[in-house]
Symmetry: D2
Subunit: 341 residues, 4 copies
């Protein structure tokens, strides 16, 4: 199967390439970048040295392909989509441009009027754990946000059970520096970013809309930058309508995730890694989910961890590609992660 990547010079594009170049069913035919056109992809992605001879192609020379991955900045895919749809039978967009069902949410959270809102119904939210069947049949899949993925997978079993006070759900998210992209900027300067605990979006973060759409809860989301390169931890504080025991919560998570290949329930009584830890997940497609019951404050603390470039972006996208193409869902996604790291 031929696969192409539009906008392949960023971190998400690099991660897609890393996965696709080792995917037994995929052949990467083109990777576009105007700024690096003609240069080897290892110029942007030094981990691919001696792994591939691919070079970047100008956007304008994009050819037909079987699966097209869009790894462009937010706002670009929604503009280019009419030109891209004819290029491929299947499209996975990794930007936010087709994630939200309600066109008005784009105005609220992204400050733009969606130019092709008619496509929002056609697009499927690319979280296989929630929409596996729809993804199999989709031609346009919208890859979820990294923080959104973690929060949704942590909260959804509780929300479905009707156990949560839906008006007081706090999601306190922490993420690493690759989440802000390859471009950098003053806030990403190592001397400023190193060792921070920066509340960069105490409110108003765009992923709020996705989490609310997929969980039906009202979400009080606050996002922090902490010292790490990869990784998202979503700590979800969910007050309870009625008391739940640990056993109750175990049951909810087991029912939701026992057969999921990429969701592990992590909750151990001893050891260093009793709850999900993003650093163990670098390079993997896992989303680890765990929890604690706090009888004192009448809440469940649900915690989810993932690699923002993998299960939070490129990994989920390839998982969707596998589903859309009829391959086993885990194909090309079997890296187990490093310890220590």
């Amino acid at each position: 199967m031929r696969a192409s990547v539009v906008g392949g010079s960023g971190y998400t594009g690099g991660e897609l390439l890393r996965l696709l170049l080792r995917h037994p069913k995929a052949e990467v035919t083109q990777v576009t970048s105007d700024s690096l056109a003609g240069k080897p992809v290892s110029r942007a992605h030094p981990n691919l040295r001696k792994v591939t001879d691919l070079t970047f192609t100008p956007h304008a020379e994009l050819e037909e392909t079987d699966v097209l991955f869009l790894a462009m900045p937010h706002g670009r895919a929604m503009e280019c989509i009419p030109a891209l749809l004819p290029r491929a039978g299947k499209i996975v967009d990794l930007s936010a441009d087709f994630r939200l069902r309600d066109p008005r949410a784009y105005e609220t959270y992204y400050g733009v009027k969606h130019p092709h809102s008619e496509l929002l119904d056609r697009s499927v939210y690319g979280l296989p754990e929630l929409h596996r069947r729809a993804i199999r049949d989709a031609t346009l899949v919208a890859g979820p946000g990294c923080i959104a993925t973690a929060a949704i997978l942590a909260l959804r079993p509780l929300a479905l059970a009707g156990a949560i006070d839906t008006d007081h759900v706090v999601v306190d998210a922490k993420s690493g520096s690759s989440a802000s992209g390859a471009e950098g900027g003053p806030a990403s300067h190592h001397a400023e970013r190193s060792g921070v605990m920066r509340a960069y979006a105490p409110e108003g973060h765009r992923h709020t809309a996705e989490i609310e759409q997929e969980t039906g809860l009202r979400i009080a989301l606050s996002c922090h930058a902490v010292e790490a390169v990869r990784g998202v931890l979503a700590t979800c504080h969910a007050f309870l309508r009625e008391p739940l025991t640990e056993k109750d919560v175990w049951r909810l998570y087991r029912e939701a995730y026992a057969s999921e290949p990429f969701v592990r329930i992590v909750k151990e009584a001893t050891g260093i890694y009793r709850l999900p830890e993003p650093k163990l997940l670098a390079g993997t497609n896992f989303c680890d989910v765990g929890f604690a019951v706090d009888a004192h404050a009448n809440r469940v603390v649900a915690v989810a961890a993932l690699d923002n470039l993998m299960k939070g972006a490129a990994g989920s996208a390839v998982q969707c590609m596998n589903l859309m193409s009829g391959y086993p869902e885990t194909t090309g996604l079997d890296f187990v992660g490093l310890h220590p790291i």
Copy 2:
């Protein structure tokens, strides 16, 4: 004035020494440590090389002094206190042993029956911003916990105003590796601790009791270890009883802290450091406090940052000593902090 430190080989003891050796009014007469007795203090505190010739004294040889700082592990001070009280007219205990008014809280949170609960009434909670007058007259001051200090200073103005839904207050805390002490252990091994976003105490953290005591709120506290050596960030999610504007909240904080020498309100519209950031506070006695109003979720996000060894321990202790001794409150605490760091 003579000052002595009991249990001076740990991180808090080292920080006390750093401050006291440069304090214009204090003379450090003894620092006790049984394991390092006879060794220069720079053996444990290499930053004090060539700064002092002090050596450690065995605990048993502690002499009378004017001010005694207790920097022992939790549980030790409550046992030793009868022997220590006669040694000094003023005692500042940096452990948790005299922080809580209610003796039963020690059983709940520390699993011990307090052997000298009669002293709990006599002891003053050593947060000058709340108890300045009482500290001035106290003979026994209990230095607050680091996470507690941040959370209390962030939440107190909102709590006093009666503006908060008192049953749904979430405190999501992040802290650096010095908070777990000099002893280390498997969880502190660099290869395991580096780059973590570890939910080490999703519920049940001991500082809950202090924060509730000083704010009157029910607190849902979750604590995380992140990559940093010094620093605590407390992100306090406070749902509102009735809407508050930014202006309202500004007013509350200004009323509370305008004349406080060590509390700065940090809330800027531009730049990298718009809200409090612990890394800027390493070595300082500041607690920076800031906030955001989230109309969507009907909450205020109040954020406080500090250096866990300074305003979260030794710095506050010296601030209390200054008050107890009639010195200007900021004496010896004027380090402004480094940028970048």
Copy 3:
């Protein structure tokens, strides 16, 4: 093929397991650890959660196998070897115990008299780039040290060419915190180890003996701990007997490594990663080698980077197993590494 690991609870043991569990030809039959006997291997290696159900076996219950990996502390393998030899047709020892040909070197560098020096002749130094043919036929292979591997691969082409002043070769090595093992200790405490540039072995490092044995040079080795979890960088400063141009040095390295699957020559004119960088190699079996010619000081600066747990330990060991077993040399070692990380 059955493979077993003796001493599987440490970092090297965990890395061996990670590789072997995904190796298409190997089946891990036993992993021994007395302290964790009966416990799942994911207790020590949390990245293997849900990947394997293996549990640790007591050392005493080690059964016969095809390939045996010894991942014990230095000094243990040389004692246990008589009991282990009958257990497996092929043994790869990852400790230092069989690396040196000259038994006296063990007394000099390790302070022990080798109890089975008669085996030193039989053992092969497990660096395939130098001893591929001998490894194929070996029954006992000694995995090289991590710093030694980097320094040898950087220096060997220059040494073979007779181009170097053999008495003034400086190897200035930098390494991450996993190099000191899973046990930790005061020097590994995060608060002490974070951000260091620690000259922990300015002279006398044990790897000196290996590098001298394999290059024929006298080596002035100094080792530093820097902030990273995985990775070794060996900066080799080699003064020249006669001037060499860049082109000359390129030729030497190309001749040495053009057909090596795991050695890449990295020397670029632009970009951030112009010379080898260990952080790009986490989890991979690459040793990247590069250089600069310094006409001013009449030297070549040869730089080599690797992951100390992979090409510096477990990766090389599996590469040797592949050779000893007649499998393609790269089997199970195709992870390309992450960027960014």
Copy 4:
């Protein structure tokens, strides 16, 4: 005494301000920056919030002052100097523009013809440990480079003793991310810079010229970026003409530095910090120097550590100002450093 800073928006400018604002003899009258003119200095230096109300002044409005600090990029001071000389009786330039005696060295190392080489004789190399007397009388002082300061202080006692093989001196330097300035760029992006061991200048580094000028040795300098914000470690590998014992080397360093207020000889038999460690020096004006004798390779490994923004820039500059102004040399420079950090 009035002091002004030209180019005060960078890291060095910020550090100068931090020191001068707490200096008992100095009054900061102006800080210039065209890009931030009119803005509070805390905009660029958030550690100075609530510490000062100073705002930035446009360069063109620089007034007369007593001491002028130039904290501009390399190449600017040499152009502006005719306009600046009349502004102040004493000038301390923190750039490289007046460090080298030989005008041709600017062409070799900086690629420019020095427009005012007649001033090179008048300028004094601002390392008080070498040129204290000349600095006292100087009107133009050139602050040394950070790596140069460390290497010179480590090597000079050995060089003066005539003990070193002058043709094979290797300086392997490691430095933190603040050394590349506040501007940042792709190589400083946290995701790329975090955890690196980057040989960014394997040869040809500009500080070579300074070190050679001040030590009389030929220097083979290689510079690495490692994970830290502040700090330089210079590991100097010096082969010996004739054997030296530890006692000999101790004597040389003691003779050189016993009475120096900011040079500590650090060489301990036990503990974690046996040799100089930059992380302990953040914010201090110390340069710690230590060594090891390597009989095997016939060399001394001399190690020096400092904070690149302090003893490597602003701290040394204030030390020079103190000398030039007749104040005690340590005035305003008594911060002892933090541990842990």
